[in-house]
Symmetry: C2
Subunit: 228 residues, 2 copies
């Protein structure tokens, strides 16, 4: 507890998926006092959030906040609407599983919490290599958000800049898995699937499952997630 008071604080976005788990471990390995932030945003299943909770507890983070965000009021995404999840593999376009302005909204709320906590470091597990076509997973987005944070806030104005850390930004899925293994991530605590069944078993066919399985295969490792 006393150690936590002297360390710099960081807010880490934690979805319960594999990438944010590696990101969380990375923040903690860098010595930050970690405050994990998860969103309840009308997901079709709550299994991802249970994974997030298990992960945060296993790492004994300083704080873990579940923030209710009724983005379903806006509509527009297969992850929250009744549109079937596509299973044809990743294409060139932006997939219909896109949640409107998702990472912008998530980072904005992370910034609000960071400002209140006195944290100056935000972590987000986006990556631009296997990015499935989401515009808010690109380096240009991270850079633009960091610039925004430093004009939007009291702390930014008063010369204590915010930093947006995206440690997975330039890693392939296989490299993310390799880094996670090195950091001791328990991948059985992570859920990537867009469409798990009632027991939390992954479908193995959606874009997220395909990328994950290919990543483990490239590393010559077995994915500890349960597939149906």
């Amino acid at each position: 507890m006393l150690a936590g008071q002297s360390r710099a604080k960081a807010v880490v976005l934690l979805s319960g998926g594999m990438d944010s788990a590696v990101c969380l471990h990375s923040a903690q390995a860098q010595g930050f006092a970690v405050y994990a932030l998860s969103f309840r945003y009308g997901q079709r299943h709550g299994l991802e959030l249970r994974s997030a909770e298990a992960m945060a507890r296993a790492l004994a983070v300083e704080g873990h906040l579940f923030f209710d965000l009724s983005v379903e009021a806006f509509g527009g995404s297969a992850l929250t609407d009744a549109i079937p999840v596509p299973k044809g593999g990743t294409g060139d376009g932006i997939p219909v599983t896109y949640v409107p302005a998702r990472n912008t909204v998530f980072l904005s709320l992370a910034l609000a919490w960071a400002e209140t906590l006195g944290a100056h470091d935000l972590f987000i597990g986006v990556n631009a290599v296997d990015f499935s076509g989401y515009p808010d997973c690109r380096p240009a987005f991270i850079a633009a958000f960091e610039r925004l944070a430093n004009v939007a806030t009291r702390e930014g104005v008063e010369q204590r800049p915010y930093r947006i850390h995206a440690p997975l930004l330039h890693l392939s899925k296989a490299e993310i898995i390799r880094q996670g293994v090195a950091l001791g991530v328990d991948f059985s605590h992570t859920l990537s699937c867009y469409d798990p069944d009632g027991q939390g078993r992954a479908c193995g066919a959606c874009d997220a499952c395909r990328l994950r399985l290919a990543g483990f295969a490239a590393e010559g490792l077995a994915d500890p997630a349960v597939y149906r």
Copy 2:
């Protein structure tokens, strides 16, 4: 209704205060089909939201969404916490009524709704003249958010840029009132006070009341708001 379908859509942040009311009228006067967005964010009083509702109804906007946002989970502001509202006049620093990252969060959610609606224009009633020291009421903030929006979203990436309109940005309070009168704003429908009583009567002493009263006085007009 048919006319509404052919007009460009705009999302307008509507707090129920004077500035956002003028902003709403401005968007409608420019011919946009207006979608008003108000937030329930743990305000100590709901009177401002009732003002917003009355204003949106009087203007027959295309849509009005009240979005629940539990920012009180973060703490850190006199508008949502139990800290007394300061009444000593505006000073040089940033006031304690500051809500963390407020306009960043509000614009992010406006962007999410805009993306879903197919709107490309967002209106926010900030102004940098009588800005009370809020960093997210400055031109640099508006410009940074517009840049962010155009890298964060499918539409931005696909070359249909978003525009963040802040029509009051460079106006004094007196000029805002003058523009509002020209646009037909019913200022009795607006509430600026940080600390109204149970009947919605303004205190006349908080920063927001002082700025408002000085603005009406400068225009030689009586403020139709009820003061206690």
